[in-house]
Symmetry: C2
Subunit: 256 residues, 2 copies
Amino acid sequence: MLSKNQIKFINSLKQKKYREEHNLFIAEGAKIVPELLASGIRVKQVFATSEFLRKHKIANEIERFEIKEAELERISSLMTANEVIALCEIPSYEIDPNSFKEKLALVLDDIKDPGNMGTIIRIADWFGIGNVVCSNNSVDVFNPKVVQATMGSIARIKIHYTDLRSFISEQSELNQLPVFGALLEGENLYSKKLPSAGLIVIGNESKGISEEIQQLLTDKISIPSFSHFSQSGGEAESLNAAIATAIICSEFRRGN
Amino acid sequence: MLSKNQIKFINSLKQKKYREEHNLFIAEGAKIVPELLASGIRVKQVFATSEFLRKHKIANEIERFEIKEAELERISSLMTANEVIALCEIPSYEIDPNSFKEKLALVLDDIKDPGNMGTIIRIADWFGIGNVVCSNNSVDVFNPKVVQATMGSIARIKIHYTDLRSFISEQSELNQLPVFGALLEGENLYSKKLPSAGLIVIGNESKGISEEIQQLLTDKISIPSFSHFSQSGGEAESLNAAIATAIICSEFRRGN
């Protein structure tokens, strides 16, 4: 049975301010919570149905609360509450500038949509890109909607928030990393020889890559469009940010 | 000024039953409506702010209603109402079996999420894939959320609903089209020589491609994962349906 204070506390974590104050985030559902339990993320409390608790091994140091479906609904962020909610410690990854050497990393210049952010982290995971560096104005990755959309990938990818300009400048200098970004006038992604290390910058959903960051790109690329349905007027003007990320990452990893 | 009956009528079109009864769908916003006005889609009525009406040429045969922002909110499906709502005729594209000859087409096996459906139509548009064939159980593409997510591509892509089994069998026979589908045990997409014509089957978000349709595939493919963060437990298990669609379409179009 949950106390009023517990309900209030958990619901407060849907706001960034309280997540930062308590250094905790919410993860929810029978798919993600077991992944977090098995990961390096520190789970502090688990609120779950008796069925979930019966099926999953939960380490002794984690506080557990058996609750009913109806109680779960009162703390859930989902349309349909799903077996379990966990409160987890927000991991803090220091940016070790040397850890970017000879690797690919994604750099997000103000991604605002929680669904896009979650999907991009899932894409990074799929393509073995271990670091995602976000501008300070990007949506908070510990927002419950983002956590949900990552489908567990949040446990595997290191996500950093920082000033992109200093970060990119530092990496260009220290590790000689090339800096890729998709722009309309960029070089055809499909015919360019792509390296196995570098920074891939993804721009904001409506504004693209900011002027300031564009100046730091060493390689401007573009995803060619094949849209040609001219008789019906117009053509596809852009791809969603997460879709563009997927196509670019796929191209980097496929080999030539 | 909108009458109560108009408000009721427009809101009824958020339900598939009434869209079918009146053969109308709703499009909304200053980005999509002008694209529809310029397209082959037949726009019947436009409800817009005076500013929108001043800026856009609207053909004489289209009924127009100047309304205030506050009225727009009462008929909007969006979080923030946006200048204009149009009622458009649902186009009916007969499946001409010969029109699939020597072309790529997407085949959607029960795509259920409106955001995914809209994004997939936008991807089809970007990659110049003019036909999207949906199983009868896929989400209705004229659902306002889907219309919105297509960002105007709905005006350019022919979308069909039909029994997939008969459609695929017919196309295999009539046009000798190969039938591609992503499965875990499929061939590496990156090393396979891909043709310029064929059917690309995309499976349901949680169940993938149904057994019945799997039997009709001539080419099983897979998108290799590079996820290898083993120390933190687990790895990315799947890609979102729209993301997988983007990667596959990109591979088909990029050339080898």
